[in-house]
C-alpha cells in the first residue's frame, strides 16, 4: 500500500506466486480498483518481475502487487480487459508471452506487417479503408484500419509506433542530464503534466518536500495547460464539423492562454519550468496583476466562444449520439480522463489521489452522462470553467516562500509511483531504483496509451464519416503513446 507520490523500498512489496498475484488482482478489480500500471522489470535473461499498481479511488490509495514469471504466463486480459495493452507491451519489449491473450501483436513496432496482420472481415459487403500514417492535416502519424460495410464501421484497429523514440529505455541508469528534456517531450502538449509526474517521482525517491509556493505554481501551470488544450480542442472540433466561427475564436483564445503560460513559465508550452525540487521561475506582483487581468478577460471570452458552439442547434445535433462509449466499457478498458468522465466514470487524480496543492483544493470531478462526443465536449467546457476558478483561487492566495529546494540523491532499491491529472487524463510514472540509486526501470503511461481503446470501441457500428469528429472528441496523443 502506498499513496500517489510516495516511495517504498522494493523489498517491502510482498512477492507472491503468480496464482496469488492473479487472484489478488482480479479480486481488487472486481472490487472497483483500476489497474493504473502493469509492467515488468527484467532480471537476467528471461525472468522478470511483474508489478501491477492498482488504484483504489475511494480510499485514495495505491496497492502494488509483485510476482516473478519466466518467459510466459497465463494472460490476464480475458478476465481483466484493461491490462490488454500492458500485456502486449511487455510481450513486445521483453518477450514475456501472455498465453491466451486474444489479440497478441506488437504495440509499437511494425517492421514486418506479415507478422502482425490487421483484424480483417470477409464477405461481399465488407470493404477495408486504410488511413494514415500520413494524414491530410498537419497531425501526428498513426495508422487506422477500418472494416466497413457500406458507411458503417464494423471494426477499427489503430496501429501506432511511428514515433517510438525509446524514452523509457533511455531513462534506465538515469537520471541523466537530458532526462528532463526527454520527459518534457513525451507528449509535447502535456509538457507540464509529464514534468510534474516525473519530478514527483524523483521527489518521492529522494524524500524531498517541495515548497508550498512551488506546489501552487505547478498547479497553476498544469491548469493553464489544461485551459489552452481544452479551448484548442473545442475550436478544432468546431472546425471538424464545418462550423468555423467558434473555430477561429477558440484558436485565438488558445493563443492568449499560451501567452499566459509564457508569462508564468517563459515558454508557450511550459518547458524548463517544472524541475525536481520545485520550479525555475517565480512571479512578482506585477506579473501577478497581469496574469489576473489576462485570465479574467480570457475567462469571459471563453464563455462567449463556447457559447457559439453550444448555442448552435446544428452543432449540438451533429455531436449528439456520435461515438458512444458506455461507463461499463470505460471501466472494463481502463479508460481515463475526459473520455471516462464524459461516460459518467468519476476518475480524476486531482480529486482521488491528490498531491501538492491539490491535496487541500477540495475539487469534485466534472462528469457528464450522455456518453457521446457532445459529452466529451461538455466536459471540456465545464473543466475550462473549473480551471479558471482554480487559477483564480491560486492567484488570489499564492503562498510565499522559496520556489525550489535541492533534491537529495535517490534512495537505492526503491519503488515510486506518481500520478498527475494531465489535461487528457491520468498520467502515471513508475520508477524503481537499483542498488546505486539509479533508475532500474522507468515506466510512463500517457492517458493516450489507455484511451486509444476507447476510440476503437466508440467507433463500432458508427458511420465512418463520423470518425474524424469522434476521434477529435478524444483528441489523443500519438507520441505520448509511442514513447
Amino acid at each position: 500500500m502506498l499513496k500517489n507520490g510516495q516511495s517504498i523500498p522494493l523489498d517491502s512489496i510482498p512477492e507472491s506466486s503468480f496464482e496469488q498475484f492473479r487472484s489478488a488482482l482480479l479480486a481488487e478489480v472486481s472490487g472497483g480498483a483500476r489497474v493504473v500500471n502493469f509492467s515488468a522489470q527484467p532480471i537476467g535473461e528471461v525472468r522478470a518481475i511483474l508489478f501491477a499498481v492498482l488504484a483504489d479511488d475511494a480510499q485514495g490509495s495505491l496497492r502494488v502487487l509483485k510476482t516473478r514469471v519466466d518467459d510466459s504466463y497465463p494472460s490476464l486480459t480475458p478476465d481483466c480487459p484493461q491490462v490488454h495493452m500492458f500485456e502486449r507491451e511487455m510481450w513486445e519489449n521483453l518477450g514475456l508471452t501472455p498465453v491466451g491473450h486474444p489479440w497478441l501483436k506488437s504495440v509499437r513496432s511494425h517492421d514486418d506487417p506479415a507478422n502482425h496482420p490487421f483484424f480483417t472481415m470477409v464477405g461481399q459487403d465488407v470493404h477495408e479503408v486504410a488511413v494514415g500514417p500520413v494524414h491530410a492535416g498537419v497531425i501526428e502519424p498513426g495508422h487506422f484500419r477500418f472494416q466497413c460495410t457500406g458507411e458503417v464501421v464494423q471494426h477499427l484497429e489503430v496501429q501506432m509506433g511511428y514515433q517510438h523514440r525509446g524514452v523509457e529505455s533511455a531513462m534506465v541508469g538515469g537520471p541523466h542530464k537530458r532526462t528532463m528534456s526527454q520527459i518534457e517531450t513525451v507528449a509535447g502538449d502535456t509538457t507540464i503534466g509529464h514534468a510534474i509526474a516525473y519530478c514527483e517521482a524523483i521527489e518521492a525517491l529522494s524524500g524531498t518536500q517541495v515548497p508550498e509556493r512551488a506546489q501552487a505554481l505547478r498547479a497553476l501551470a498544469l491548469e493553464l495547460e489544461r485551459l489552452a488544450n481544452h479551448v484548442g480542442d473545442l475550436g478544432a472540433i468546431a472546425n471538424d464539423i464545418g462550423y468555423l466561427p467558434p473555430a477561429a475564436f477558440c484558436g485565438r483564445l488558445r493563443g492568449d492562454l499560451l501567452n499566459v503560460t509564457t508569462t508564468l513559465t517563459g515558454s508557450r508550452m511550459g518547458r524548463s519550468f517544472v524541475r525536481p525540487g520545485g520550479v525555475t521561475q517565480d512571479i512578482d506582483d506585477a506579473m501577478l496583476t497581469e496574469l489576473r487581468a489576462t485570465l479574467d478577460t480570457a475567462r469571459s471570452q471563453c464563455v462567449d466562444a463556447t457559447g457559439l458552439l453550444f448555442d448552435s442547434r446544428s452543432s449540438v445535433a451533429r455531436m449528439t449520439g456520435t461515438g458512444v462509449i458506455t461507463a461499463d466499457e470505460c471501466r472494463e478498458l481502463g479508460i481515463v480522463g475526459v473520455a471516462a468522465r464524459a461516460s459518467g466514470v468519476e476518475v480524476d487524480v486531482r480529486m482521488h489521489h491528490p498531491t501538492g496543492w491539490y491535496e487541500s483544493a477540495g475539487l469534485s470531478p466534472v462528469v457528464e452522462t450522455t456518453l457521446d462526443s457532445l459529452a466529451r465536449v461538455t466536459v471540456r467546457r465545464n473543466e475550462i470553467e473549473q480551471s479558471f476558478a482554480i487559477a483564480e483561487k491560486l492567484l488570489k492566495a499564492l503562498p510565499g516562500g522559496p520556489i525550489r529546494v535541492t533534491c537529495a540523491d535517490l534512495k537505492s532499491n526503491s519503488f515510486a509511483v506518481s500520478m498527475v491529472e494531465g489535461w487528457r487524463g491520468e498520467i502515471v510514472h513508475l520508477a524503481t531504483t537499483d542498488a546505486d540509486g539509479r533508475f532500474a526501470t522507468y515506466k510512463i503511461v500517457d492517458p493516450s496509451f489507455r484511451n486509444w481503446s476507447a476510440v476503437t470501441t466508440a467507433m463500432r457500428g458508427e458511420q465512418i464519416s463520423d470518425f474524424p469528429l469522434c476521434n477529435k472528441s478524444f483528441n489523443l496523443s500519438y507520441c505520448g503513446f509511442d514513447l
Binding site: D240, G242, A317
Partner: protein, 308 residues
Amino acid sequence: MTLDASAIIFTATGFIFAPLLFGIINKTKAFVGGRTGAPFLQPYFDLIKLMQKGGVYSVTTGWIFTSAPAVVLASVGVVMLLVPLATSGAVFSFNGDIFLFAGLLAFARLAMILAAMDTGSAFEGMGASREAMISAISEPGLLLMWVALAVITGQFSVEGMLGGDLNFAWSSAAGPAIVLLLVALFLLMLAENARIPVDDPTTHLELTMVHEVMILDHSGPDLGFLTYAAALKLWIFAALLVNIVLSIYDGPLWATATIFGVGMVLTAIAVALVESTMARLRMIQVPELLTIAVGLSAMSAAIALGVR
C-alpha cells in the same frame, strides 16, 4: 433558335465571373468568422497556378480518369449556354432542352464518379458512393422543379420557362408554387454544389468528404478543369435561382443585368451565411434534408397543376 449578342455577352460574363462566387463565399465566411480571409480573386490565382502545373497520374488509373476532367468541364460548359439572363434568351435553346440540361449535368457527375472509382482508392470509392447517393435524391428534385416550371409557364425549354410567361405567373394563383420552388432550388443548390450542410468544401478530413475526395487524385490542369467546372455549376444554379426571382421584374435590359449581378452576389453571400451559421449535417441525415427539397419541388408541381 436565336443567337443574339446580349445572350453571348451574358454567357461570356458567366464564364469569366463564375470563380468569383467562390471568392465571395470564402471572403464572407472569413468575415463572419472574424478572419481577414483570402482575396476575392484567390480562386482565379488558384486556377492560374493549377493550369501552369503538370499532372501526376497514378499507375492504377486509365483513360476514364484522364478524360474525366475534360468531359466534366465540356458538359457543364454546354449547360452554361442554356442559361439565359431573365427574359433576354439563352445562347441556344430548343423545345425540351431541359433534358439536355439535366442529362449533361448527370453525365458530368457520372464521369466524376467513374474517374473516382478508376483510382481504386478506398477514399474515392466512398466519395463516389456518397455522390451517387446524394444525386439519386437531388436529381428527382431538380426534375420535379422543371415539371413545376413547365406547368406554370407552358414552356419546354430552359429559356422559355424562365422567360416572359414566368413573369405573368407571379401575379397568378401559381405564385406560391414559385416561392416553394425557390426554397427547394436553394437546398438543391447547396447539395449539388457540395456546400454545407451537405458537404464541407473546406475540410481536410478525407473520411467525411464527398466532392473533395472524388477529386483527390486529380492534379494540375485536371484539377483546374474540375475546380472551374465546379465554379460554373455553382454559377448555373445561382443563375437559375436569381432568374426565377428576377422574372417578377420587367424592365430594361441594363437594369435587369444589374439586378442579376447583385442577385448573384447576394446568393453567394447567402450560401456563405448558411455555412457560417450552422454545422454540417451528419452524413446519415443528408437524405432527410434532400427529401425535404424533393418534397417542396413536388408540392410546387402539384400546386402548379392544381391552379392551371
